[in-house]
Amino acid sequence: MKKLTYLASAVAASFGANAYADVSVSGSGTVGYVNGTDGDGNVVTGSSVAFGLSTTTANGITISSGLSITVSVTAENAASPGGGQSLTFATGGATIVVGDISVADTPGSVGGVAGAMTVENAGFDSDVQTAFDDDDGTGISLSTAVGGATVSVAYVFDDDSDSQVNVTDADSGASSFGISLPMGAYTLSAGVADHDSGESAAGASVSAAIGGGTLTIGYSSQTMIADPTAGVTTGFVTTFVTDAAPAAGISAGTDVTTTATTGTASADDLSIGGDTEVIGATYAMALDADTSISVGYQSAKDADSDSTTQFDLAISRSLGGGASVYVDMRTLSGDTDGANGDGTAFGFGTSVAF
């Protein structure tokens, strides 16, 4: 027996493998034209570089983290650093993330397929409250397979912190649970989420291969908390008059002006706490080996009886070498904030993955 072990060990010893660390670099860049809901055209650029750090231990556990430098597409931005606030532990049986994580607070909510470049720069401003006010913070998440299902749980100790948290005194936590299960030709996903503020969510979606593509239909119900400052004066700002030629009856340097601070119409999407319902569907298919098309539909209504309807179209074509071109379109109608919160926006451009 010992000699047999010697032979097997001798075979394996010739393939000696050591635990090794690895640093990888990846990134992306994008430039596009966005025609917003106000009819104005914008040229937008963005890029990012991500440093992936990983090591595999002798018993096969992969531990990884990452840092990044990003130029965001959402506004005029300089390069900003980020990441480095979580560690991922992956085995053959589970993936655990410790640090800055997000809970799945919109289970079953589907319908958005247009890219961030177009959506973030189009000027949309829906008055329907969906999703938790804050769903990420320092916490721990686990994703694993149990039988034929994939299960994910996440717990955030405090959504006010990202890299450090006082777990004893934390009072703004959130949690979520999700499960996906193949059922023949269909895949069913369901989940629930909860926040210490009283917000909660539940939803489900079902996907199926139909007509050469994938159809996904989802329903999400979210219990939201009203913004307590909606339309309410929350304070006053007092300043001395500094005009060289003040209005009649006012003396510069001695008289004061007082301005009330009030919750803005754009910030307070919800004035009555209650349930928000989101119904949506997406269909994605390949036109050929390099071209894909996706359409999405979403209808949402909150406890204020504000509702919106959204329709998305996204076409993407791979050009080779990591580059692709895209065309995105979104139409939003219903209850929105501002003069151009609704309407139709489209964008096209190119993105490159390095």
Binding site: M1, K3, L4, L7, A8, A10, A12, Y20, G27, S28, T30, S48, T56, N59, G60, T62, G66, T70, G83, T91, G92, G93, A94, T95, D100, A104, L142, S143, T144, A145, V146, T150, S152, V153, A154, F157, A170, G173, S175, G178, S180, S189, G191, D196, A284, A286, D288, D290, T291, S292, S316, R317, S318, L319, G320, G321, G322, A323, S351, A353
Partner: protein, 197 residues
């Protein structure tokens, strides 16, 4: 708060204890349904999600980032196979794991080498120092993707007793794990030096 955390910790522990060893395979199956970037069971940071979406767009529906293809050719070759696209084959064998398996087992005579099935088996390996024992190595690539659970290794050994060979009941977990890690390491090295295709 404390009670909620204790309940969550117990839930995580129970799930971890009941977990099966095919988590990566299940994630890969869900990737085919939702797309890797939108898989609800992948915890991606916002920047990771953006890069993932760009890679997904660059790869196209066939999941392969092509080497060739100019912008003009790519725009006007819609539906044309001359775009230089590499279509996915019917095999579920990851090329890097396959090449790594062949490279690692290069010093031994191969009895079976089946790419479509992802299966490699060596002939009996014998050592002059241990004439009454022999072993063989079986390697099976089980995934289309380069993942840590995409390779299965099995070492079988036999003892010679009265001129007949008998299978040994002994298990070689450590040796199999060592071989697995070596193949994964070589596969990663091959992937890094291989141009994107």
């Amino acid at each position: 708060m404390l009670a909620k955390f204790v309940f969550f910790f117990i839930t995580i522990s129970l799930l971890f204890g009941c977990s099966s060893n095919n988590h990566e395979e299940k994630l890969a199956e869900l990737d085919k349904v939702y797309g890797k970037c939108d898989n609800p069971h992948r915890q991606l940071r916002p920047l990771e999600y953006e890069i993932c979406k760009d890679k997904e767009a660059a790869a196209g529906p066939d999941g392969v980032i092509d080497n060739e293809g100019g912008m003009i050719d790519g725009l006007f070759s819609f539906g044309n196979d001359n775009s230089g696209a590499i279509y996915a084959t019917a095999s579920d064998t990851n090329n890097f794991l396959w090449d790594a398996s062949l490279q690692v087992l290069d010093n031994y005579s191969l009895k079976i080498s089946d790419f479509d099935g992802g299966y490699i088996e060596t002939n009996w390996i014998q050592n002059v120092k241990v004439p009454n024992q022999r072993c063989l190595v079986k390697s099976h690539v089980t995934s289309k993707e380069l993942i840590s659970t995409g390779i299965k290794i099995k070492i079988l050994c036999e003892n010679l007793f009265e001129k007949n060979w008998y299978v040994s009941d002994e298990e070689f977990y450590e040796e199999e794990k060592q071989l697995t890690l070596k193949i994964l390491q070589v596969a990663k090295e091959i992937k890094e030096i291989t141009p994107q295709s």
